[in-house]
Amino acid sequence: MNFFRGKAFVFTMIVISVSLLLMALSVTGAKRLGIGEDFTGIVISPFQKVVTLARNNISDFVSYFTDFKKLKEENEELTRKVAGLEQELVKNEQYREENKRLKGLLEIKESRKDFTFAMAEIISRDIDNYFTGFVIDKGTIHGVKKNDTVITNEGIVGVVTEAETTWSKVSTIIEPGTTVGAIVSRTGDIGIVEGSFDRMESGLCIMSYLPKSANIIKGDYVETSGLGGIFPKGLIIGTVVEVGMESHGLSNYAVISPKADFSNMRTVFVITSFGESEEQP
């Protein structure tokens, strides 16, 4: 059998020749031999397209299984990251709230330079429905003492009824038994704001001992009068929502809706001292 004879040899020689020609076309410069290159491209590119498509599809299919572990790890990593970010979000929300509270405090401080504050967190609330009092995390070592006024940036909240070393009990102004000397801002009528058992559930309190001649209307602002020396003068208590005459007919009363939101409070400010000039009317 002769190596250099036969159809196979001729075929091989043709392949070699054509290949060499194509190589020459490729090497000598595509611009001058654009037709040759184009021809090769036309022949090859559909084939490449099909192979690439098939290869990509197989790769995608196989990677579905081979990448599973990687994807699982990636998923776990992302879950951890999301949890971290959620925590950060909660923290940011807390900072935002705190910022809002401190801004309020700053406003009060700016307007009442004679006040000394202690910021306190509410650490517990009365568990039954008859009381709205709560416990704060500041006590005598922080300068808090009995009868100190407790406020938020919205208005007056209540009074410290019991001061211990590191914590204190606070009664709100809507609790029966709490009394605050008050004045209607617009008219200057003086009375006493006190908690009412009937109104407590609605979050309201009563302003009693208003003169019969008092021209109080719904929406009037009521603030502390400073009488009695316990509460400083000029703190917003709330707005009038209803006006009426006492049953004995000697004086009027007004139902007050406090400005402070008792249900959503988390931080309060205790006024540990205030100027003498503000105490007296």
Binding site: M1, G6, A8, T12, V15, S26, I58
Partner: protein
């Protein structure tokens, strides 16, 4: 002469085999890679075709395999095509004239062909790097690739022999 039906079956077999092997090697090649070395599975087909088929048919099969590789490579079109076609023709000629058809010889021829193929590719495309690193390339790349390809030729040998027995009788091999 080979019957038209047999020719079609064989062409389909080799065409499909080339396509599957190429797709496998180009997509899942990493699975069979050992120490960064992958066997040249298409060369296993070329050698098996040379061993079992007539010279012209082996050359055509080799041409097809070379065409697939070359058309998909970034290198100058034609070099791999020539190497594959020549390898197919030479193998077929040697198996018909001088070498006895056996698994052992197919493996040896695969090893030899892959080694020479690697050598030619190295010389054709990396001749500027033909220096002191050549020895290391032979030891770390060419020889392991040749040995691995020789081992990989075993399943191809059996599959091709099975297909060959199903389609072509002994006297028809002289096509």
């Amino acid at each position: 002469m080979m019957q038209r039906g047999d020719l079609f079956n064989k062409s389909a077999y080799y065409g499909l085999l080339i396509l599957i092997v190429f797709l496998f090697q180009s997509t899942l090649g990493d699975i069979i890679r050992i120490g960064g070395i992958a066997p040249n599975l298409l060369f296993c087909i070329v050698v098996c075709a040379g061993a079992f088929e007539a010279e012209l048919f082996a050359s055509v099969v080799s041409f097809a395999a070379g065409f697939v590789v070359d058309s998909y490579s970034e290198r100058i079109f034609g070099v791999i095509l020539i190497l594959f076609t020549v390898a197919g023709y030479v193998n077929a000629h040697l198996f018909k004239a001088y070498i006895r058809l056996s698994l052992q010889n197919v493996c040896i021829m695969t090893m030899a062909c892959v080694f020479l193929y690697e050598l030619f590719v190295y010389m054709a495309f990396f001749f500027t790097a033909f220096n002191a690193s050549f020895g290391m390339t032979v030891l770390t790349k060419m020889l392991p690739a040749a040995l691995y390809s020789g081992a990989a030729a075993v399943p191809f040998f059996f599959v091709t022999r099975f297909v060959n027995r199903q389609t072509v009788s002994e006297e028809e091999k002289e096509f």
